[in-house]
């Protein structure tokens, strides 16, 4: 009882209390105004939603990029996977998030097939801003005892026996299948395609003698090439490609010059943000991204995976996105791929031959 009495005497008076409260509130307001006045993005962790499952190419590269960018931004980037429907689920998810720069999309190939497959309405070069890091490269491989010495031999043989030669790929409509289609269209030859669940099983099928040729990523074939268990016919580039432990590989343009405009062809690792994210943030992401390209750990990951750094940002990335959409949408439509539901014409997507004249379309404006 006595103590309480003392407290009241020694404690603060009502006036003092009100004064302190007033100062406290006032300063809080003042500081918060200051804080709002100079927005510092990023103030909280960023979430990168990856379109494919853990362990795959897109996942590994996106996580490596994020790790490098974290160091530069001094912020946390949490990577999470949301696989499904060729990236449609992750795309839809990020699209529904606020355009505040805290939601990124770890995508592949600029989401180039989503519109034509009917999975999304968003346009890769108009609704999104993509930042591209690297390419994996397509290669055609055979067993060492194969009669084909290079891609030219394969094409000649396919001319003589149309539809008889068996070629494995990682799935109908997948990167490597489309690459083979581009060659077939340019040369007019036909060979039989057998889809497998990914590049690794497609390579195994070749070893098992189930097929004569395998069309997959060089990075998926490289160990077998190095061991001499497989031989490379050509790679989808427009110049010879140096691969450590294997040697110099022939570019596809040596045999089929017409496909040069599509080279290099392979998996494309693209990071995306919604286009209406504030320009300052998009620009900051661009700086950080390009800085990450020089990060030694990131480069080590690329090197180990035999994936080739080839960054593109801003208007360059937009254009590449549009080219890719054009090529893939029309390939799908022309081969009457059952899952390609939407006519590219209806979407305003130009044929690849008309792309140069069409780009840039009237409603296009570079963002950064």
């Amino acid at each position: 009882m006595a103590r309480k009495h003392e407290y009241v005497k020694e404690g603060i008076s009502r006036r003092e209390f009100l004064a302190f409260t007033g100062v406290g509130l006032g300063s809080a307001l003042a500081f918060s105004r200051l804080a709002r006045g100079s927005p510092k993005w990023p103030e909280r962790p960023i979430t990168a939603v990856i379109e494919y499952s853990a362990g795959g190419g897109t996942d590994t590269i996106t996580r490596a990029e994020a790790a490098a960018m974290e160091k530069i931004l001094r912020a946390t980037i949490n990577c999470t996977n949301m696989p499904g429907s060729t990236g449609a689920l992750a795309t839809k998810f990020v699209w529904g998030k606020p355009s505040d720069g805290y939601w990124w999309l770890g995508a592949a190939e600029y989401n180039r097939a989503l519109r034509t497959l009917g999975y999304s309405d968003t346009v890769p070069w108009k609704d999104w801003q993509f930042y591209k890091a690297a390419n994996s490269i397509q290669g055609w491989a055979v067993r060492p005892d194969s009669p084909f010495k290079d891609l030219g031999d394969l094409i000649d043989a396919a001319k003589k026996k149309p539809g008889k030669i068996l070629v494995s790929n990682s799935g109908i409509g997948d990167v490597w299948h489309v690459g083979s289609i581009l060659v077939k269209k340019a040369t007019g030859v036909k060979w039989e395609e057998i889809p497998y669940k990914g590049g690794a099983p497609a390579t195994l099928a070749l070893l098992q003698k189930e097929v004569e040729v395998c069309a997959s990523g060089v990075h998926e074939q490289v160990e077998f090439l190095r061991a001499g268990k497989l031989r490379n016919l050509a790679v989808f580039t427009d110049k010879p490609l140096e691969v450590e432990g294997v040697g110099t590989l022939n570019p596809v343009t040596k045999f089929v010059p017409e496909v040069g405009s599509f080279a290099p062809w392979g998996g494309i690792y693209t990071l995306g943000l919604k286009r209406d994210v504030p320009v300052e943030i998009l620009k900051k992401v661009k700086e950080t991204f390009l800085g990450a390209m020089d990060d030694p750990n990131f480069n080590k990951v690329l090197e180990k995976r035999v994936i080739f750094k080839n960054p593109k940002v801003g208007a360059d990335a937009d254009r590449e996105a549009a080219v890719n959409e054009s090529v893939v949408a029309w390939v799908f439509w022309d081969i009457k791929l059952e899952s390609a539901k939407v006519n590219p014409k209806g979407l305003g997507i130009p044929r690849p031959e008309e792309f140069e004249k069409w780009w840039p379309p009237k409603d296009y404006k570079p963002r950064i």
Binding site: S53, A54, G55, G56, D59, T60, R63, A67, T80, N81, M82, P83, G84, S85, A88, L89, K92, F93, Y119, L166, G171, I172, G173, E192, I194, P195, Y196, K197, A200, P201, T203, L204, A205, L207, Q208, E210, V211, E220, E223, F224, R226, A227, K229, V301, K304, R305, L337, E338, S339
Partner: protein, 500 residues
Amino acid sequence: MPADILAGLYLFLRPDVFGSIGIGVSLGVVVGALPGLTATMAVAILLPLTFFVSPILGIPFLVALTKGAIYGGSIPAILINTPGTGAAAATVLDGYPLAKQGKSRKALEMALFASVAGDGISDIITLFGIGFLASIALLVGSPEYFSIILWSFMIIAVLTGRSIVKGLIAAFFGLFLSTIGLDPLIGVRRFTFGMLDLTGGLSIIPMIIGLFAISEILRQSERKMGEKESKELSSLFSKNIFKKKGEGLTLREFKECGRTILRSAFIGTGIGTIPGIGQVVSAFVCYGIAKGSSKHPEKFGKGSLEGVAAAETGNNAVNGASLMPLLVFGIPGDIVTAVLLAAFLVQGLRPGPRLFATQGPIVYSILWALLFSNVVLLILGYFALRYIALIARFPKYILFPSVASLCFVGSYSVNNSLFDVFVAVVFGAIGYIMNEFKFPIPPLLITFILGPLFESSLGQSLIMSGGSLLIFVYRPISLAFLILTPITLIFLLKRLPKVN
């Protein structure tokens, strides 16, 4: 090669490796025991941590995690009819009845010993036989997959239920469910009803959570649980947990299952060398074969320790063997090995034909670490069991609601998808109905899991043969399994008692 095996042994004998394995196993068991958390998720999430350590620490950690998880899934499977991972789905068939009879500790111990035995045997075979056994993967092409899967469908449809007709109906239903989504060959959408979430098909984890856990919760809520009754039930469990005499697994009981364990270990190892088949299928195939070869098949499904032994040995034996196609060809057999492949690549290990030639010692050190992690699992598991079994003491009105919330969180967390939670609930209802009408669930699961591979193998084979079905007959291994199917069917029908 033998020099490399020894060099590997030397490299692996380090305290930090032991520590990393210990943490991996413990974490794995916890992850496996929580329904909805899977080994796959844990490995994927923890993968980036391993980038910063050397491969001898990082990779055994991830593999020990998997081993622990495949065992850990048996814990809730036995105690609350909820497989913690898909691989434990076969363990519920006899594990839960045993728990209901008050023999949960016996079942848990059998699960532990069987898991360790299966994993251990498969690791030894892998360590010493990887060179020539890996070439099995070269012999198994699309037509072989088709025939092998057909044979395993038949075993499971016939052996795991009491009525063969109902088993077949469940199997066909599972096959139908597997067609929802994109067709494996061309990517055409089937039965998706315009829903984007269905284009990826149904997810297996929410389905399992629904079929086993949620349906059991529904069944339990049906019963009026008086306070007195729940106290009795939980004391029934607890009395047996702490009484020393008679409730643990006796040596005799273990020995009686010895042949089953050995057989399941070899079958599981064989299945592991074939990429794409997996632990769940192995568990059920071993269970089915054990039932068909058992002296007391009628006990299966009612609380047979042999059933638990077969299932747990079968699923763990896949772990070591699945490294064979991964290391020698770079072919991941499932998502876990796919993530491991990424781990290997980042660590500078290049799975493929040159791996053993260029990096032999370190690869063997990893295999030795795997073998050792079984010992760790055995020791940690045995001492943890008495505390784990305490879960059974909780009154059901606390236990099952907690399980229910775990189920929802677990279903969501697989793909960050609320749709999956919906799937789990729907399958909870389906599981409940199937149970009421005595339709067995295992055939549904197996055909669902293997459906896409079955279909794509058929398609690939027919493309290869130009449309001719004779391809399945011309290839010797495929022909062998095709003939084996009706032979096994007849043999089993004769052996099993006819049930109405």
